[in-house]
């Protein structure tokens, strides 16, 4: 488990923009100019799934969202009380908080196609046609 961090939802969010240098898939964010995408990635510890999810997410964001996104990583081991708000059961879970409506994607985000559909970056029928 990582070092304990007592923080509420708001402070966790505000802090996340500052300590980008910390560790592996730690709290990190890209500085937005026009914030279009607000994403939260819930993980539980530094597991292979968490690391894979984070790197997959970064790639997808860079490619499809330009600089208009912000990723917030929440480690539930540090902030267990945050699991309740977004109804997190499985980890990793990616939550698209903006634009609304809220979308959730669970798993290590290895299937780019599905992530794009889940984020509404691609129409669902493109996936349905393949199935």
């Amino acid at each position: 488990m990582k070092k304990a961090k007592s923080s509420s939802t708001t402070s966790a969010r505000s802090r996340s923009s500052q300590d980008g240098s910390a560790r592996g898939p730690a709290k990190r964010s890209t500085k937005p100019k026009t914030m279009e995408w607000e994403l939260r990635l819930y993980v539980a510890g530094n597991t292979p799934n968490s690391i894979a999810a984070f790197s997959n997410l970064q790639q997808i964001c860079e490619k499809h969202m330009g600089g208009r996104y912000r990723i917030e990583i929440i480690d539930l081991f540090d902030n267990p009380q945050l699991a309740r708000g977004d109804q997190i059961v499985a980890v990793p879970t990616l939550v698209r908080r903006l634009p609304t409506p809220i979308k959730k994607i669970i798993g290590d985000l290895s299937n780019t196609e599905r992530v794009l559909v889940g984020l509404d970056l691609k129409p669902a029928r493109s996936l349905a046609a393949r199935r």
Partner: protein, 513 residues
């Protein structure tokens, strides 16, 4: 091993040895703790399965509330179906204030919501999020008790069943290390399987099955302990009751013939009848059956019995299956018995209900609960015949056996009335007479009155003691009548009767034949 502290599990000393191995946590469901000899296994996982509406959630909540209120053990409820508001409302209808307990940190509710349509699935994941939530919940209040209701929602909520299975296996193992006693609810599957998704394979320490059956339009709830590792337990099906006071189980089949026979006598309330019963009345804690055709005065006998008990200062519980309390009071006032004063003083309670309102087991459970609460010295069931209409004879007999065993164990004298068909009085008593210690028959017979000018011919009522175990009793048919001042034995009460001559002469003639 002594177990004086817990009166619920002192019924059998033979099994107490087994309790040394498995520590138990009381569930707060009356009766279940008796069947399981102490409750569910402490620090382990217990599975509660049942169909829709079988009372699983209530059962689990009662377990948490019992811990929080009676044992000072905080409880955490991970609810997958109902949210905190719904649970709070539902439990408020049973008189529990969940919000208050939450404020006191004796209870925490976490509503876990999983809807399949809300998310996309891409690749590997695990359920650590759930683990974290459970752990956080346990830590935040120091929970000793945990409920997962109904965890099977995960199977429908998450697309990858293989992951759910392996994660549940991990969860149940992990829970055992958390020092909490867990109750997991699950829905029974089709074809008689215990759970729809085979949870019983992982949660194997204790399995309790709740059943809700409808037979001939009457529903009956039953509970069975299917499995209990490392502990003996009652294996029968036990009826249980869901009502405004929650849930209670009737473990009557576990009683058996171990009661002490009393030599104390109680008056029947009718001096003449007492004289027939060896001059002293019934034995205390015996069972008495009064059979008779319609209008022979069965209820009046029962009312005298109840009245006499109240006069001695004993409590009497009167189960009426035919008349409302006010009807009984009115009718008994007409034969000179004022029962209302006893009700006012809390010595008499009349519980009236229709026999068809619930199944036999339901009646049994209700009577069990009422008797336990009111603690009467005398119980009257008037009439038992109507219960026959909701069950077949073997079922009625088995229910009566359990009821009588229970009453005897608590030193309660019970009087049952039974309506019989004219001409086959002794046959129509559904084979229940063997359960009875005393059997009284009330009859009506046509009497020829010699002196027509004095009185019109009328039917004469007579009482006959068919049997009374353990005492020398009268074998005579004794005529009686019901007057404004109650029941009077014409020959035994020593008063001037209206027509002793006629009655006597009839017996004389019969003898001569």
């Amino acid at each position: 091993m002594k177990n004086d502290g817990n009166p619920r599990i002192k019924t059998s000393t033979k099994h107490l040895h087994a309790q040394e191995y498995v520590q138990k946590t009381p569930t707060g469901t009356e009766g279940l703790d008796e069947i399981t000899r102490g409750g569910i296994p402490t620090g382990r996982n217990t599975l509660v399965c049942g169909g829709a509406g079988s009372g699983k959630t209530l059962f689990a909540m009662k377990y948490l509330l019992c811990g929080a209120i009676e044992y000072g053990e905080p409880g955490l409820c991970i609810s997958f179906e109902e949210n905190a508001e719904e649970l709070t409302q539902n439990m408020a209808s049973l008189g529990f204030n969940l919000a208050e307990l939450e404020k006191k940190k004796m209870l925490a509710i976490d509503h876990v919501q999983i809807a399949r349509h809300e998310f996309e699935e891409t690749g590997e994941y695990d359920l650590s999020g759930l683990f974290v939530r459970i752990e956080h919940g346990i830590r935040s209040i120091g929970a000793k008790r945990l409920v997962l209701d109904t965890i099977e929602v995960l199977f429908t909520g998450l697309p990858n069943e293989a992951i759910v299975r392996s994660e549940l296996r991990r969860l149940f193992r992990w829970l055992k290390e958390q020092g909490v006693t867990t109750m997991i609810t699950a829905e029974t599957g089709p074809g008689g399987t215990l759970t729809r998704h085979g949870l019983e394979e992982y949660v194997a320490d204790c399995v309790i099955l709740l059943d809700h059956r409808v037979s001939e339009q009457v529903s009956t709830r039953r509970l069975r302990v299917v499995k209990y590792r490392g502990s003996p337990h009652g294996t029968n099906e036990f009826p249980f009751l869901l009502d405004e006071s929650g849930l209670s189980v009737v473990p009557i089949t576990s009683v058996g013939l171990t009661h002490q026979a009393s030599t104390e006598r109680v008056s029947s309330g009718i001096p003449g009848l007492d004289r027939m019963l060896g001059g002293k009345g019934f034995f205390r804690s015996s069972s008495i059956l009064i059979s008779g055709t319609a209008g022979t005065g069965k209820s009046s006998f029962a009312a005298h019995f109840a009245n006499a008990a109240a006069e001695r200062g004993e409590r009497c519980l009167y189960f009426a299956f035919e008349e409302s309390p006010s009807q009984i009071l009115r009718n008994m006032r007409s034969v000179g018995l004022d029962l209302e004063r006893w009700m006012d003083r809390g010595l008499l309670r009349i519980e009236a209900s229709r026999p068809t309102s619930t199944g036999l087991e339901g009646h049994l459970a209700r009577m069990h609960r009422d008797v336990s609460a009111f603690k009467p010295a005398i119980v009257v069931i008037d009439p038992i015949t109507n219960l026959v209409s909701v069950g077949d004879s073997p079922a009625v007999k088995s229910m009566l056996t359990r009821l009588i065993d229970f009453l005897k164990l608590h030193n309660i004298t019970a009087m049952f009335t039974n309506l019989t068909v004219k001409g086959m009085v002794e046959e129509t008593s559904v084979g229940i007479s063997s359960l009875m210690d005393t059997w009284i028959l009330l009859r009506e017979m046509d009497i020829l009155v010699r002196d027509i000018s004095a009185s019109a011919p009328e039917r004469q009522r007579a009482i006959h003691l068919l049997k009374s175990r353990g005492m020398a009793h009268s074998r005579k048919m004794e005529p009686f009548e019901i007057t404004d001042n109650g029941i009077h034995m014409l020959l035994l009460d020593g008063r001037e009767s209206r027509m002793p001559q006629a009655t006597e002469s009839r017996w004389a003639r019969k003898k001569a034949r």
